[in-house]
């Protein structure tokens, strides 16, 4: 009995190792994208000046009660220019309002950007110090968060927003087909 089992030991060890590595590969951050610990949690609070009406404060509490997308961008960010057309299409769809978070940017340049390329945002909050972006766990623009009416972050996309992400990840959630 024992003699029969001994040759199986390396096989078992190999199987265990393969299992651990397989789990590791499946869970490894895909293309360097890190799963946000914010998912399923309450959206971080902020109160920041509005880019286009500096006297007004954009408060995260005021955004509660309906779905919204928070898009982190900056005029210094090349990918943000690449996703801008997609953001304009999101606006045209009227499916979910876009809230911008202008991250460590120059106000005048950001205003000029929106005038030139078109403004897809309902409101843009200005995060000059970058402190709000840290609360959201932002590590590279553009990043887009989807927040549900109860104020829970349900989805995060890192990198330029694409048609595919919009139709397969964001729209189904907003329309209630996917949680």
């Amino acid at each position: 009995m024992k003699r029969f089992l001994v040759p199986l030991v390396p096989l078992v060890v190999f199987a265990l190792l393969a299992l651990v590595l397989a789990i590791g590969i499946r869970h490894s951050p895909d293309k360097g994208i890190i799963v946000s610990p914010l998912l399923g949690k309450r959206a971080p609070q902020f109160a920041l000046p509005a880019l286009l009406e500096p006297a007004r404060t954009v408060r995260s509490q005021d955004l509660q009660g309906h779905w919204y997308l928070l898009n982190v961008w900056g005029t210094w960010c090349g990918e943000c220019r690449a996703e801008h057309q997609m953001l304009l299409r999101v606006k045209q769809s009227h499916a979910v309002p876009l809230i911008g978070l202008d991250w460590k940017d120059d106000d005048a340049q950001a205003q000029a950007w929106l005038t030139q390329l078109g403004n897809p945002y309902e409101t843009v909050a200005v995060d000059r110090s970058g402190r709000a972006a840290i609360d959201w766990g932002v590590y590279g623009a553009p990043e887009t968060f989807l927040i549900n009416p109860t104020g829970i972050v349900v989805y995060k996309h890192v990198g330029a927003l694409t048609e595919e992400v919009w139709t397969h990840e964001i729209l189904p959630r907003v329309q209630g087909g996917k949680s």
Partner: protein
């Protein structure tokens, strides 16, 4: 010649020190706090460059996170509170040193378990050999040449 070499070396070291100092200009007033600051910034990952710590990274976000560490140390936060604060925003991935949780138990436990396994295997092999020698009725004849 020697003084020229020495001068060059001094210049090089000065330039190196200037360059190294430019990355992180934060100095905390208390040496104990400064030591904790240096340790913490070396064990937090720069999320943009990912294989560098925030202490070693020149990117803007790393500087912002270093400032957070500094502010929180000055506010009297503990090392664990600061690590937790970072992990709540960026996930455990930001910690170069994994935390002790049930999810990471296998990671911390595996080396000990493997050592124990190896020791058991060694002990059994040694014991079997001694038993085999002791029970050997027909010992190898001594080499006549010795």
């Amino acid at each position: 010649m020697r003084s020229l070499l020495r001068g060059g070396l001094a210049l090089g070291l000065t330039l190196f020190a200037l360059g190294a100092g430019a990355l992180d200009t934060n100095v905390l007033p208390d040496p104990a706090l400064q030591a904790r600051y240096v340790r913490l910034t070396h064990e937090l990952r720069c999320m943009q460059c990912q294989n560098e710590s925030i202490a070693d990274s020149p990117v803007d976000l790393a500087a912002d996170l270093r400032n957070q560490v500094r502010e929180q140390l000055l506010a009297g936060k503990s090392d664990d509170e600061i690590r937790g604060w970072m992990a709540a925003r960026y996930g455990d991935f930001i910690l170069f040193r994994p935390r002790y949780t049930w999810r990471t138990a296998w990671l911390w436990g595996a080396p000990g378990a493997l050592l124990l396994l190896g020791a058991t295997v060694c002990w059994r092999i040694l014991r079997n050999r001694t038993q085999l020698l002791a029970s050997d009725q027909d010992p190898v004849e001594e080499d006549p040449r010795i």
